[in-house]
C-alpha cells in the first residue's frame, strides 16, 4: 500500500530477503508451478506467437485511440444504467469510492482481488474512514490477516507457508474450536470458505478491479479462479469497479485474443475458471445481481506515459510472467522491491507512478538478462525501458557518487583510445599479479562488493584490443 513503500531501501531489503530461508523455500515452487505451467501451455498452442503479435497490436491500437475508446466505453456503461467516475489520481479514486459507499449506507464491504486498489491504498483509506473492507481472494485474505502487502501480482501470498497460514487463522478465527486440525491446505481452504461465505452474504458493497473494459459493450471483465470476484459483485446491492484507463479494449473479439494469452502466461491454465462480463446493474425482472453499478476510471500517471518511452508498458495485462521468470525476483521475492508492483514490470511502472526519486534503485534490480521480454505476452521491451530509467537516474544525479565517478572515469578513457589501451593493459597485468595460484582474486581494488560474495577470475593473456590486433595481423 502507498503508506508502506520502501523502494528506497531496496539493497537493504534484498539482503534481508537473501537471509530468509523460509521465504526462499516458498518462492522456489515458482519454477515448477508457474514457469513450468506456462511452458507447457504455450507449447500446446501452435498459434501462441501469432496471438502475442495480435495482442500487442490490439493494445497499441487501443492506446493510440485511448480517449475515444474511453468515451465509447462510458457511453455504453451509461446506456446500460451504470455510472462512470473519473479519477485523476489515487486520492480522487479513494474519495469517489468512499462517497459511493457512504451514499449506499455501507457497513460491510467485500473486495475481489485487485492490484489497482493496492496502488491507490484503498483499504487503508476506507479503514481510516470507518469502513473495514474484507479481502475475499484466499491469498489476499491471508495477507490482510497478516497486515502485509502482496508479494506477487497474481499469487499475493506466495511468500507465506501453510504453517504461517494456520497460525494466522487460529489468531483471526478465535471463535472456532481451538483443537481443530489445520495441518493441510484443504482444511485451511475449507475454513476460509466458511468464514468468507458469511462475509459475501452480508456485504452491502462489493469492490472489484477489471482485467478488461470493453468499449463495444460497456462491460467490465474479471478473470479469476476462486469465484470470489463473482460473489463479491453479484451479492451486494452495489458493485464498484476500479480500473485504470489503459484496461480498455475495443471489442469482445479483442478480449478473446488477450484472454488466450493471459491465463497461459500467468498460471499455465488454458483459461481461468471464471471469466465474467458485467454490464450495468441488474435488469428489470432479474432475480439477482447488484442494483447499482459504478465504474471508477483511474489515470494516476498513465496519461503522461502515453507518447513517452514508457508507453509500451501500458500494454501490460498483469499476468506476472516477467516476475516468474526474473532471476532477481526468484532470489529475493516481491517484498524486497518495496513497491506495489514487483519484478521487471514493477521496476518499469513504479517510477512512472510514484516518481524516480523514490524508486531509483528498482531499474538496477535487474541483470537485463532479457527473460522478461522473451516471455511477455504483450511483447513489452522491459529491458529497454529499465535502461531508459537508468539513463534518467544518471541524468538526474540520483546515481550514487562512486558509480558516477566510475562512469565518468570510464568515459574519460573511452574517449582517448591510446590512454584506454594503456590503462586496460596495466589493469590486466596488475590483476593477474594480484591473483592467487588458482587464477582468481579473493579481493580486488574498487570491487569490494563483488568479491565479498564471490571470487573474481583474473584476466588471462592480453586485453581484448591486443588480442584483436594480434589476430588481425595474421
Amino acid at each position: 500500500m502507498s503508506g508502506g513503500l520502501t523502494s528506497q531501501s531496496f539493497p537493504k531489503n534484498a539482503r534481508a530477503a537473501l537471509a530468509n530461508p523460509p521465504l526462499l523455500k516458498a518462492i522456489a515452487h515458482i519454477e515448477e508451478t508457474l514457469v513450468g505451467g506456462r511452458r507447457r501451455a504455450t507449447e500446446a498452442l501452435p498459434e501462441f506467437k501469432a496471438l502475442r503479435d495480435a495482442g500487442r497490436d490490439i493494445k497499441a491500437h487501443a492506446l493510440d485511440h485511448l480517449d475515444l475508446y474511453l468515451e465509447a466505453f462510458e457511453r455504453k456503461v451509461v446506456e446500460a444504467g451504470g455510472f462512470v467516475h473519473w479519477a485523476a489520481d489515487a486520492a480522487d479514486a479513494n474519495r469517489i469510492i468512499l462517497d459511493i459507499c457512504r451514499k449506499a449506507g455501507a457497513q460491510r464491504v467485500t473486495k475481489g482481488k485487485s492490484m489497482i486498489t493496492e496502488e491507490v491504498g484503498l483499504n487503508a483509506f476506507l479503514q481510516e474512514n470507518g469502513i473495514a473492507p474484507v479481502e475475499t481472494d484466499l491469498g489476499e485474505y491471508i495477507i490482510q490477516l497478516r497486515g502485509e502487502t502482496p508479494s506477487h501480482i497474481i499469487a499475493p501470498a506466495v511468500h507465506v507457508n501453510k504453517e504461517q497460514v494456520a497460525a494466522d487463522f487460529r489468531r483471526a478465527h478465535a471463535d472456532l474450536d481451538p483443537k481443530r486440525n489445520l495441518e493441510e491446505p484443504t482444511s485451511l481452504l475449507a475454513e476460509a470458505r466458511g468464514v468468507l461465505r458469511e462475509r459475501f452474504l452480508s456485504a452491502d458493497v462489493g469492490i472489484t478491479g477489471a482485467n478488461f473494459l470493453v468499449a463495444e459493450t460497456g462491460s467490465t471483465v474479471i478473470v479469476t479462479n476462486e469465484g470470489n470476484g463473482d460473489l463479491t459483485q453479484i451479492l451486494p446491492k452495489t458493485h464498484i469497479v476500479l480500473a485504470s484507463i489503459e484496461k480498455v479494449v475495443p471489442t469482445l473479439e479483442d478480449v478473446a485474443t488477450i484472454m488466450r494469452l493471459l491465463a497461459r502466461s500467468a498460471t499455465g491454465q488454458e483459461m481461468s475458471v471464471y471469466t465474467t462480463f458485467s454490464t450495468g446493474p441488474r435488469r428489470t425482472g432479474d432475480p439477482d445481481g447488484p442494483e447499482a453499478f459504478h465504474v471508477v476510471l483511474l489515470d494516476n500517471g498513465r496519461s503522461a506515459m502515453l507518447g513517452s518511452e514508457f508507453e509500451d508498458m501500458l500494454r501490460c495485462i498483469r499476468c506476472g510472467a516477467c516476475i516468474n521468470h526474473c532471476p532477481v525476483y526468484r532470489s529475493i521475492g516481491g517484498h524486497a522491491y518495496g513497491s506495489v508492483y514487483p519484478g521487471p514490470m514493477g521496476s518499469v511502472l513504479t517510477p512512472s507512478l510514484q516518481g524516480l526519486e523514490k524508486s531509483a534503485h528498482l531499474a538496477n534490480a535487474s541483470t537485463l538478462c532479457g527473460r522478461c521480454e522473451s516471455v511477455c505476452p504483450m511483447r513489452i521491451p522491459l529491458p529497454k525501458m529499465l535502461r531508459h530509467w537508468r539513463e534518467k537516474e544518471f541524468e538526474r544525479h540520483l546515481t550514487p557518487k562512486k558509480a558516477r565517478f566510475g562512469l565518468a572515469a570510464w568515459r574519460f578513457l573511452a574517449a582517448r583510445p591510446r590512454l584506454y589501451g594503456l590503462a586496460t593493459r596495466l589493469g590486466a597485468w596488475g590483476l593477474a599479479r594480484l591473483a592467487g595460484r588458482d587464477g582468481s582474486l579473493r579481493q580486488a581494488p574498487l570491487a569490494g562488493s563483488w568479491t565479498r560474495w564471490r571470487d573474481l577470475p583474473a584476466p588471462e593473456g592480453g586485453t581484448f584490443r591486443t588480442e584483436w590486433a594480434k589476430r588481425g595481423r595474421k
Binding site: 468515451e71 473519473w86 501453510k162 475458471v273 454490464t279 432475480p287 489515470d299
Partner: protein
Amino acid sequence: MSSRDAILGRIRRSLGASGSDATRLAAVRHRLAETPVNVVPARGQLPSSERVDLFVRKAGEVFASVARLEGREDIPGAVVSYLRDRNLPQEIRRGDDRRLADLPWEREAQLAVTTGPSDGSDLVGLSHSDAGVAETGTVVLTSGTDNPTTLNFLPDHHIVVVDASTVAGDYETVWAELRRRFGAGVMPRTVNLVTGPSRSADIEETLLLGAHGPRSLHILVVG
C-alpha cells in the same frame, strides 16, 4: 475543469491527437461496428461431432465431470443419478428457464426441485448454458429473468446443461450469437464463462478445488 475533461485532455496532449480528428473517429467507429476477428486457434475448427468430443475432453482436463445424454427428456434422470452417485440429498434448485421448466421432472418423484436465485443454502444448482466452447471446455451462462447468476456460484455442486448443437469451436462464434440474440453492443447484466470447478493455489501453490465457488462442475451434454 472536471476530472473527466482533465484526463481526456492529458491523453490527447500526450498522443498529440485531437478528439475530433475524422480519421481517428472513423478508425474507432469501424472497429466497434465491424468487430474484426483476430487470430483464432485451429484447435476448435472441427466438424460438429468432433467439436463436441473436444469440448468433453477439454472440460475433463479442467476437472469438470461430463455425462452425454441422447435427449432432453433424459436430464431429470441424469440429475438423479449424479446426486445418488455422490450421496447427495435429492434436492436441486434451478432457474425458471423454459429449457429446464419443460422437462419431465414428474418422472423423478423422489427429486425435490425448487426454483429461483440461491441464498447460499442450496447444495446443488442446475443451470442451462447458452453455449459451450470446445477450445477450452468452457460453458457460457447468461443472466436474465429466468437465469439467476447466484446459482452458478453459491451451491457446492453446479450442474450445467449444454445443448450439443450450441457447442462452438471458439469464443468468437459465441460473441456473434450474443449479438444476434441481444443486439449489437448489448450484453445481459452478467455473462459467465466457466471453465471447470472453482479452484485456488494460494496456499503453497498447491492446487485445490472448491475455493469460493462450486466444488464440482457437472456438465450434461444433450444430443
